[in-house]
C-alpha cells in the first residue's frame, strides 16, 4: 500500500461514514474513497509507470483517478478541461504523454483521439478497461515516488512543466492543515481548480490529511459559492482574489449565509488592498492571505490567530527561509521546492544551492513579507522590448556558468540598457562570451554590461546561513 492509501485508510478507520468529497450531486465517504482508490489503483497499476495526462473536470471521478494514478506510482499531468486538443498537442511536444484520460462529457471533443489506444474516457478506467489494465502485474501502492506535473508559462512565457514529487504535494497539504488548523469537523469549499497546486494542496490534500470534508465548487460563481457555503455550513472557503473582490461587491451576500465560516483563504495573486476590509465587514470572518508559487510551495501566510499590517502578504512559514536578493527579488529555500522544469529543450532546474529566486519583488520585515510587484518581464532598449529570461537561458547553456541574472538599468540614451551578472566556476573571457552571445542572440539583445561576480552566490550563502542560524530570515 502506498502513502496515499495509508493516509486515506487512517481517516476511514476513524470515521468511515464521514463525507470526504462532494461535488454537485456526487458524494463519497472516506470508506468509499478508500475502496474506490484501491480498486482503481489496481486497474491502473503497471510494471512500468508511465506519464498520464489527466484532463480534470473537477468531478469526483476525476479526483478518484488522480489519487489512484498517484497511488499506483504513475506520473500525472492534471490539466484544465478548457484546454483544446491543440493545447494538448503542444504539451506533448514538451513531455511525452503515454496515456490521456478525458472526461466522458468531452468525448465528442476527443472523438478522433479516442480511437487511438492511448486515449481513454474516465469510464474506461472506472469499469476496468483492458487497455488501462494491460500492463497490470503488480499490486497497487508502488514504492516509486510519483511525480505530479504542473503546467506553467514560466517566466519566459513559453509553456513548461514544473515537476513536483507526490511527497512534496502531500507535505504542502499538511502545511495548510497545520498552519490554518484544519480540523475533522471542517467543511472546506474549494473554488480553485484541482489541477493547480493551490487547489490540490490547500483543498484536496489538506482536507484529506485532516480527515475533513471537501466540497468542490465547479465553475465557481459568487452566487454558487455562497449557496454551497450556506447549504453545507462551510467553515473554510478557498478562492482566488477575484472571487473575494466579487463577493465583497455583492450586495446580496450577508453574514447569515456564512454563519459557520471560520475564515477564508486567498491565494493565486495579490488581493486588492481594499477588499479584505469590505469583505470582512460584510461576512464577519477574515480573509487569510497566502503567498507562494508552484515552484516554492507556500512561502508566507496569514495565521488565523494573528493580525497583520495592511499590505502584508503573511509571515514566513516554519521551515521556509526567504531573503531579498538583487533587484529586490525574493529568494526562497524550502523543503517544498519543486524539482525543476521539463521544457521543449530538455530539463532545466533553476534551484541553486537549495534556493529558488522568484520574480516577485519584496521586502521582509521581522519575518513578514511585503510584495512590491513583479520583476518586469521586458527591458525596454530604445523601444525594443527584450526578454531578460531569454538572455539568461542562452547564458545558462555555457557549461561553466551556473547562475545568471539579467536585468535592465536606466540609461539616458537607451532608456534602459541590459546588464548581465553571472557566476561561473572559472574566469570567462568577456570577448569570447560576447562572441557566443552574438552568435545566439540578435545584436540588440546582447547585454551592454556583463560582469562575472560572486555576489549572487555569496549573497545566497550568507542569507541561507543567517536564516538557518535562526535570526528570522528578515533580511532585505
Amino acid at each position: 500500500m502506498g502513502r496515499l492509501l495509508t493516509m486515506l485508510e487512517e481517516a476511514a478507520e476513524m470515521e468511515e461514514d464521514r463525507l470526504a468529497i462532494a461535488e454537485g450531486s456526487d458524494r463519497i465517504t472516506y470508506g468509499q474513497l478508500v475502496q474506490e482508490v484501491r480498486r482503481l489503483a489496481e486497474v491502473i497499476a503497471a510494471d512500468h509507470p508511465v506519464t498520464y495526462g489527466l484532463v480534470m473536470d473537477q468531478s469526483v471521478p476525476s479526483v478518484l483517478l488522480l489519487l489512484a494514478l498517484l497511488e499506483s506510482g504513475h506520473d500525472v499531468l492534471p490539466l484544465d478541461e478548457l484546454q483544446t486538443t491543440s493545447d494538448l498537442w503542444r504539451i506533448e511536444r514538451i513531455c511525452p504523454i503515454s496515456r490521456w484520460l478525458v472526461p466522458d462529457s468531452k468525448a465528442n471533443q476527443y472523438e478522433a483521439k479516442l480511437k487511438e489506444g492511448r486515449w481513454l474516457r474516465y469510464s474506461d478506467c472506472v469499469v476496468g478497461d483492458q487497455r488501462a489494465a494491460k500492463d497490470s502485474g503488480h499490486a497497487s501502492g508502488s514504492q516509486r515516488e510519483a511525480v505530479l506535473y504542473q503546467l506553467t508559462s514560466g517566466t519566459t512565457g513559453e509553456s513548461k512543466l514544473a515537476r513536483l514529487t507526490l511527497a512534496t504535494v502531500q507535505r504542502e497539504g499538511k502545511v495548510y492543515r497545520d498552519w490554518f488548523g484544519y480540523e475533522r469537523a471542517d467543511r472546506v469549499v474549494l473554488t480553485a481548480p484541482l489541477n493547480h497546486l493551490y487547489g490540490l494542496s490547500g483543498g484536496l490534500f489538506a482536507a484529506l490529511c485532516a480527515s475533513c470534508t471537501l466540497i468542490v465548487c465547479r465553475r465557481p460563481t459568487p452566487r454558487k459559492t455562497i449557496r454551497l457555503v450556506r447549504d453545507y455550513g462551510a467553515t473554510i472557503l478557498l478562492g482566488v482574489p477575484q472571487l473575494y473582490q466579487l463577493l465583497s461587491d455583492s450586495q446580496l451576500l450577508c453574514a447569515a449565509d456564512c454563519s459557520r465560516m471560520r475564515f477564508a483563504i486567498c491565494a493565486g495573486g495579490p488581493l486588492p488592498i481594499d477588499v479584505p476590509a469590505k469583505y470582512e465587514a460584510k461576512v464577519q470572518h477574515r480573509i487569510l492571505q497566502v503567498y507562494g508559487s508552484t515552484e516554492t510551495g507556500v512561502v508566507a501566510a496569514h495565521h488565523p490567530q494573528r493580525t497583520y499590517a495592511t499590505g502584508c502578504s503573511g509571515e514566513l512559514l516554519p521551515h521556509v527561509q526567504a531573503w531579498v536578493q538583487e533587484e529586490e527579488r525574493l529568494a526562497v529555500a524550502s523543503p517544498s521546492l519543486f524539482a525543476g522544469y521539463v521544457t521543449a529543450d530538455g530539463d532545466e532546474n533553476p534551484v541553486q544551492h537549495g534556493a529558488y529566486v522568484t520574480d516577485d519583488l519584496a521586502t521582509i520585515k521581522q519575518g513578514h513579507v511585503y510584495l512590491r510587484g513583479r520583476r518586469p518581464k521586458f527591458i525596454n532598449v530604445a523601444g525594443r522590448k527584450v526578454n531578460p529570461r531569454e538572455i539568461e537561458e542562452v547564458c545558462r547553456h555555457i557549461p561553466s556558468i551556473h547562475d545568471v541574472n539579467v536585468f535592465g538599468q536606466p540609461d539616458q540614451l537607451h532608456g534602459e540598457i541590459i546588464v548581465a551578472h553571472f557566476v561561473a566556476d572559472a574566469p570567462i573571457a568577456m570577448k569570447e562570451l560576447k562572441s557566443y552571445l552574438r552568435l545566439h542572440l540578435a545584436d540588440y539583445k546582447v547585454p551592454h554590461r556583463i560582469q562575472q561576480v560572486d555576489q549572487l552566490k555569496q549573497a545566497w550563502k550568507e542569507r541561507y546561513a543567517s536564516t538557518e542560524s535562526g535570526d528570522g530570515g528578515d533580511s532585505q
Binding site: R219, T221, P222, K224, L246, S250, L252
Partner: protein
C-alpha cells in the same frame, strides 16, 4: 422600469466592463456577449452588477457556464426577473 430602461442600464453596465454596445447594430446585439469581448471574469462582474442594480437574484444555471447570452436574451431575462418581484 420598462424594457427600454433595462436595455440602457445593461448597456451602461456593459460599457463599465469595456464592452461598447452603444452603437451596436441589430446584428451585433444578436451576437453572444462573449463574442463581443466579454471575458468569463467580466461576465461574473456583470452578474454582480446586474444583481446589485436591479436587486434581483440571477439564476445559477444561467451564470455558471461561460456561454454568455446575447444582449437581447439578457435583457429579456433580466426584465422577466424584475417582473417576478
Amino acid at each position: 422600469m420598462n424594457e427600454d430602461e433595462v436595455v440602457q442600464t445593461i448597456k451602461q453596465l456593459l460599457e463599465n466592463n469595456d464592452i461598447q454596445l452603444e452603437y451596436a447594430t441589430e446584428e451585433q446585439e444578436a451576437t453572444s456577449l462573449s463574442a463581443s469581448g466579454l471575458s468569463s471574469l467580466a461576465w461574473l462582474r456583470l452578474m454582480i452588477d446586474l444583481e446589485n442594480t436591479f436587486q434581483i437574484e440571477l439564476d445559477l444555471q444561467q451564470s455558471e457556464s461561460y456561454s454568455a447570452p446575447t444582449l437581447q436574451q439578457l435583457v429579456q431575462y433580466v426584465a422577466s426577473e424584475i417582473g417576478k418581484q
